[in-house]
Amino acid sequence: MTVEHPDHAPLDKTELARRVAADIPPGAYLNLGIGQPTTVADHLPADAGITLHTENGMLGMGRAARPDEVDPDLINAGKVPVIETPGASYFHHADSFAMMRGGHLDVCVLGAFQVSAAGDLANWHTGAPDAIPAVGGAMDLAIGAKQVFVMMTLFTRAGAAKLVRECTYPLTGLRCVSRVYTDHAVFAIGADGVSVEETFGLTLAELRSRLDVPVR
């Protein structure tokens, strides 16, 4: 059942981060990708018992460090200085990625260039011949976390939908995305296809007209 908000403007970045944060289960072990997904942390309820994982080797990561708190040995995956929270732990890289691949991490939130109707993710490389490729932990996160949430704008600046039948950008992972949060709509991807949970700034009918993917 889709909840339509045609009179609500498309979500801005803060509203989108808040919307994603509202869906993180209490008690979850959570990894937030570099960039916009990191801002989800600002909206997590303090009493929800959510533990942040950073793939460079820490559980219980806290907020960004203030200038007087900066420790060069304590950074997040985006190489930003952070603080530790009570109950934090440190571990080496093989253990950190075992937490993903081994199915111990509950949710990760990633950005994307494209998501396909089957849940394929493309978020590491534009495929441009002069681009220097860099993948980091994206492929491990995509197939490792129990649930992968994507957070992105629904359309490119040129107006092309980023929810597509088949990804044209190089893939990060196959059939791994379960939920897609965008400025215009929230989608759930299941074995039976794509359903729309909410729309913002347009109706479901208008949304359908702008997508090449069948949605319920």
């Binding site: 950073t54 793939e55 460079n56 080797g57 820490m58 420790d71 060069p72 040995d73 304590l74 950074i75 997040n76 190489k79 530790e84 440190y90 571990f91 080496h92 890289h93 093989a94 950190s96 990625f97 993903m100 691949r101 394929d120 490389h125 002069d130 220097i132 490729p133 860099a134 993948v135 980091g136 932990g137 994206a138 492929m139 491990d140 197939i143 490792g144 190089p170 893939l171 990060t172 992972g173 196959l174």
Partner: protein, 224 residues
């Protein structure tokens, strides 16, 4: 285990063409003093394994700039301050093997643990798995990944004792414990070397069996 008097002594005897595992995630845990000593050995045609491909103009970036590295194996070369690598890559002066970060760690873990190869779910169906053997096990798809052995591992820990036991500091631990197991010769730079018995055995992260040389470089200089 040998306590080396300085980094240049610790690095003596590095051969051209060596594969060198270098710890660190960005600047955290990067053994800058050891990398500088590696550069001073003049060893060439090196293969370097690191998560990144150098930051700014120091440490790994300086080694690259000196033209001593033939190939880099890493997960995330492109950064806002990776201009040294970017220039070498664009002018075809360095070879890049891009490896997903978790596969990079696990391939070294496998090398250190005597595992011949392993099937990883990471990268299945992506360009980074092209040409690799694929297998379905209990309904899940995997690709075959081989170990990465180093001739040399250069890592940074916080403290060592004279038996080579190491403790690390916060997220500077990152690849250090895994790389220490995966190389023929492992050299650790630390802030301080303490006497045997001064490290609580329960807190040792890398047992000294994996460490061949330690060298004290003192506390971090401001800005490092």
């Amino acid at each position: 285990m040998i306590t080396a008097p300085d980094v240049d002594t610790a690095l003596a005897g590095v051969a051209d063409g060596a594969t060198v595992l270098i710890g660190g995630f960005g600047a955290a845990g990067q053994p800058v003093e050891l990398i500088d000593a590696l550069r001073r050995t003049g060893a060439r045609e090196l293969t370097v394994v690191n998560n990144n491909a150098g930051n700014g103009d120091v440490g790994l970036a300086a080694l690259l700039a000196a033209g001593q590295v033939r190939k880099i194996v890493c997960s995330f070369p492109r950064q806002s301050d990776s201009w040294v690598f970017d220039e070498l890559y664009r002018s075809n002066k360095i070879e890049l093997e891009l490896v997903p970060q978790g596969n990079l760690a696990e391939r070294m873990r496998a090398a250190g643990a005597g595992i011949g190869a392993f099937f990883s779910p990471t990268g299945v169906g992506t360009p980074l798995a092209e040409g690799k053997e694929r297998r379905t096990i209990d309904g899940r798809d995997y690709v075959l990944e081989y170990p990465i052995h180093g001739d040399l591992a250069l890592i940074k820990a916080h403290r060592a004792d004279r038996a080579g036991n190491l403790v690390y500091r916060k997220t500077a631990r990152n690849f250090g414990p895994v790389m220490a197991t995966a190389a023929t010769t492992t050299i650790a730079q630390v802030a301080e070397i303490v006497d045997i018995g001064e490290l609580d055995p329960e807190t040792v992260v890398t047992p000294g069996i994996f460490v061949d040389r330690v060298v004290a470089v003192g506390e971090r200089e401001p800005g490092r």
